[in-house]
């Protein structure tokens, strides 16, 4: 057994093969396990309910929830709630993120805006936005505007802070290069700062999506006739636990879908990102 270029071992000279010592560092993806874990929990839950160990009033079975969802879809009830919630979510999210990005860039670029903005943001950021809901209702009335406003407020902060951080992290070498090729203040903002913030903006959008969902449910528990928050609260009052679970599953689905959507959009908008 000889390999070209490698002298054969002579006599009893000991020979030790090199082993891959990094093997234990590898992290496999375990695709099957991911699916199995989710399905497994659902199956166990279903069996648990069928065994009759807990009354359906406290814990409805997954198939029961699915059946209820189908019925609610057929009767149109589900769509009414979903449409009402989506409208508030989309409007609040769009307004809040647009304002957040604009403020973040202004504060990141202009020293005066930074001097004015950072103390104000630092003072208002820690307030739980739910606490502002009564105030917003007082100002904007009990209708839609106060609900959209509270969602917008919740989305505003993660976006303003992330965009600000992204703008400050813009590579000074690139800013210098842009100036060397004749760029003025606005060109630098448009061609260097804004693209530099995009990864942080998307991180902020994902954070904001979670906050938006939270505030949506809170807002919909006050003086509304439709929406997923209303559905959950109303079902709880009527002890309709299966219906309540439909609302919760719907919220989970909204969260997962918005995350996927934003991830897909990020890939589309930031094609230069290295893998």
């Amino acid at each position: 057994m000889t390999t070209p270029g490698v002298p054969a071992p002579r006599g009893a000279a000991p020979r030790v093969p090199v082993e891959d010592r990094t093997r234990f560092l590898a992290r496999a993806e375990h695709r099957a396990l991911r699916v199995a874990a989710l399905v497994g929990v659902l199956v166990l839950w279903e069996l648990f309910c069928r065994a009759g160990w807990v009354p359906a009033l406290f814990l409805p079975s997954p198939l029961g929830v699915l059946r209820e969802a189908r019925d609610m879809l057929a009767s149109g009830e589900l769509l009414v709630h979903l449409a009402a919630s989506l409208k508030r979510l989309v409007l609040g999210f769009a307004l809040g993120s647009a304002a957040g990005v604009a403020v973040g860039i202004a504060v990141g670029v202009f020293s005066t805006a930074e001097a004015v903005g950072t103390p104000l943001i630092a003072a208002t950021f820690p307030i739980p936005k739910i606490a502002l809901l009564p105030l917003l209702i007082l100002w904007l009335g009990i209708g839609e505007p106060s609900k959209i406003a509270v969602i917008a407020l919740g989305v505003f902060f993660p976006l303003a802070l992330n965009t600000y951080a992204g703008a400050r992290q813009a590579d000074p070498v690139l800013i210098r290069a842009a100036v060397a090729f004749g760029a003025g203040r606005w060109s630098v903002i448009r061609k260097v700062i804004v693209p530099s913030t995009l990864p942080m903006v998307f991180a902020g959008l994902k954070l904001g999506a979670g906050t938006a969902l939270l505030l949506l449910v809170a807002a919909e528990m006050i003086a509304v006739e439709s929406g997923i928050g209303f559905l959950v609260l109303n079902a709880a009052n009527l002890m309709a636990t299966t219906k309540l679970m439909v609302g919760i599953v719907l919220l989970s689905a909204l969260g997962v879908l918005s995350h996927w959507g934003l991830t897909a959009m990020e890939r589309l908008v930031i094609p230069w990102r290295e893998e």
Binding site: R176, A177, V179, A180, F181, G182, A183, K191, W272
Partner: protein
């Protein structure tokens, strides 16, 4: 165009301790169409000097002047950076068009000028790639194309090939000389590599360690076009040796000090 640097000084205020003098009383001139190398040990303020000439670093004293005729719309300088400084979100083509955009060149002419420059730099077929998809050598080709696309009166190059491996560097040096023979702009070429400076330049300006001062101006007695064979020519070796003796003690001191 001719570049004149008169008694240029640059002092950086330090947060603690005394201010750092990067350049002191630097006076030099680069003739029109001259390839002038600016050589010095690390931390001698060569990059600061180039930055001051580009208008990217405000001078503390003295000044920089350009003399001679300039075509209408022609920018005074364009820069090639050590770190390439390509915009990661722009394709190769869009990177090359950057300077033209700022000059207000319209879309169609911009595309045509970018295409011409990309072809000259051997980047044909790479127009739609992003910088991270290119090798270091290709990236700096884009950097050079971007600078040449605006047709500057003076081309400023700050250690353009020092981030490249030795083989790529040699190839890029020859390529740059080829491009320059055709374009014939004034080039100010900052480097810490003596061989590189002597091989490429008409004249090598040797700077002292911080604070940077002009130690000597050494003409390179080699004909053009330069070829790789000249790297062994007596005139090359003698000139390189002469410059090495000038900066040897400076470099040794910089080594101990560990300046940047």
């Amino acid at each position: 165009m001719k570049v004149v640097v008169e008694r240029l000084g640059k002092t950086y205020p330090a947060r603690r301790g005394p201010a750092v003098t990067a350049l002191e009383d630097v006076t030099l001139a680069a003739e029109a169409e001259e390839f002038l190398a600016i050589l010095g040990p690390s931390g001698c303020g060569k990059s600061t000097l180039l930055g001051a000439i580009a208008g990217l670093v405000p001078a503390s004293s003295g000044g920089v002047f350009f003399e001679g005729a300039r075509r209408p719309g022609q920018p005074l300088t364009a820069s090639v950076f050590q770190e390439f400084a390509l915009f990661p979100w722009r394709t190769v083509r869009a990177n090359v068009e950057l300077g033209l955009e700022e000059l207000g060149v319209t879309g169609r002419e911009r595309a045509a000028r970018a295409r011409r420059q990309l072809e000259q730099m051997g980047l044909h077929g790479f127009e739609d790639r992003f910088p991270h998809q290119l090798s270091g050598g290709m990236r700096q080709r884009v950097g050079i194309a971007r600078a040449l696309a605006v047709d500057p009166a003076v081309l400023l190059m700050d250690e353009p090939f020092s981030a490249l491996d030795a083989q790529t560097r040699t190839l890029m040096m020859e390529e740059l000389l080829g491009v320059w023979e055709r374009a014939r702009t004034t080039i100010l070429y900052v480097t810490h590599n003596i061989q590189e400076a002597v091989f490429m330049a008409d004249r090598v300006l040797v700077l002292s360690r911080r604070p940077g001062r002009v130690l000597a101006s050494v003409p390179v007695p080699l004909p053009r076009p330069r070829t790789e064979a000249m790297l062994g020519a007596p005139a090359f070796v003698e000139t390189a040796d002469r410059i090495w003796r000038l900066i040897r003690s400076q470099a040794a001191a910089a080594l101990v000090e560990g300046g940047t």
